[in-house]
Symmetry: C2
Subunit: 144 residues, 2 copies
C-alpha cells in the first residue's frame, strides 16, 4: 500500500504528535525505537518533514523533534505523504494507463475510482490531534 518511506513517515509523525500533545519533545533515537524503524533512514525522512514544516527540529543536547500543539488539528496524513513524496499514487489510474479517464476508462476505472476516493477521504480526514490522542489513550499502536 504505502512505501516504506511513507510508512515510517506517518508512524514517526504520529509518534512525535503523541509526545507533543503531552508537552514532551522526542529524539530520533526514541522515535526509531518506538516505531521500529531503521534509525538513519528515519532521520532522512524526518528531514523531509522538517523541510515541509510539518515537524520542528531542535539541534543540540536535549534537542529533538516536536510539533506545535496548535498545529496538530490541521495536519492530515495526506500532508505527511505530500511531504515525503508519496501521495500522487492515489490519483493515478490503477492499471497504469496515462490517458485513463471517464471517456477512455481502463477496465477497472469506475470501480477503482470509488476506492481511490475513499482512500483520499481517509488520508484527508485523519488529523494528528485525533491520531495522537488515540495513541496516548492506548487504543492504537505504532510498533511492529
Amino acid at each position: 500500500m504505502f512505501s516504506k518511506t511513507s510508512e515510517y513517515g506517518i508512524r514517526a509523525t504520529i509518534y512525535i504528535a503523541g509526545k507533543s500533545q503531552k508537552g514532551e519533545r522526542t529524539s530520533l533515537k526514541e522515535i526509531s525505537t518506538e516505531i521500529n524503524s531503521p534509525k538513519a533512514f528515519t532521520a532522512k525522512i524526518l528531514q523531509l518533514l522538517v523541510k515541509s514544516n510539518i515537524v520542528e527540529s531542535i539541534k543540540g543536547t536535549s534537542g529533538g523533534f516536536e510539533i506545535p500543539q496548535h498545529n496538530l488539528k490541521n495536519i492530515k496524513i495526506s500532508d505527511i505523504l505530500k511531504a515525503v513524496g508519496g501521495v500522487e499514487v492515489y490519483n493515478l489510474c490503477g492499471m497504469g494507463l496515462r490517458d485513463c479517464s471517464p471517456k477512455t476508462p481502463c477496465p477497472i476505472h469506475h470501480k477503482y475510482k470509488l476506492i481511490r476516493e475513499e482512500i483520499n477521504a481517509m488520508l484527508q480526514n485523519s488529523d494528528l490531534e485525533e491520531l495522537a490522542q488515540n495513541l496516548n489513550d492506548g487504543i492504537v499502536f505504532l510498533k511492529l
Copy 2:
C-alpha cells in the same frame, strides 16, 4: 497501486481474453504492442500466467497465447494477481505493522480495513468474461 508486474499481467490477460472471446489467438508481439508494455518483461509475466494455468501458450509458427472461452467467466483479477505474486498486499496492515489487528490496531486500521475489503471485493468480482466483453465493445481500453 499495483506493481508494474501486476499491471502488465492484468492488461495482458484481459487483452488475451478479448481475443479469445472472438475465437482468435494472439502473440507476445501483438500483446506488448497493444497494451504498451515492454516485450521481454511481458514475456516473463506471461510465463507465470501459463504456469498458473490462467493462460495457455502454443509454441511455434502461428503459436501464441489464448484462454479457453469456457474459462473466462471463472478467472478473476485476483487470480491474475495471485499468479504473478502481487495479491497479499491487500491483506496486510496499511502501515506495515506485523501485529496489527482489531485488538492492537494501527492508527488507520479501522478505516483502512473497509477500503481493503472493497479492494478485495473488486478484485474478486471482476471476471474475464465481463472485462473482455467491455474491451471488445470498445467501452474500456488497455493502451497508454
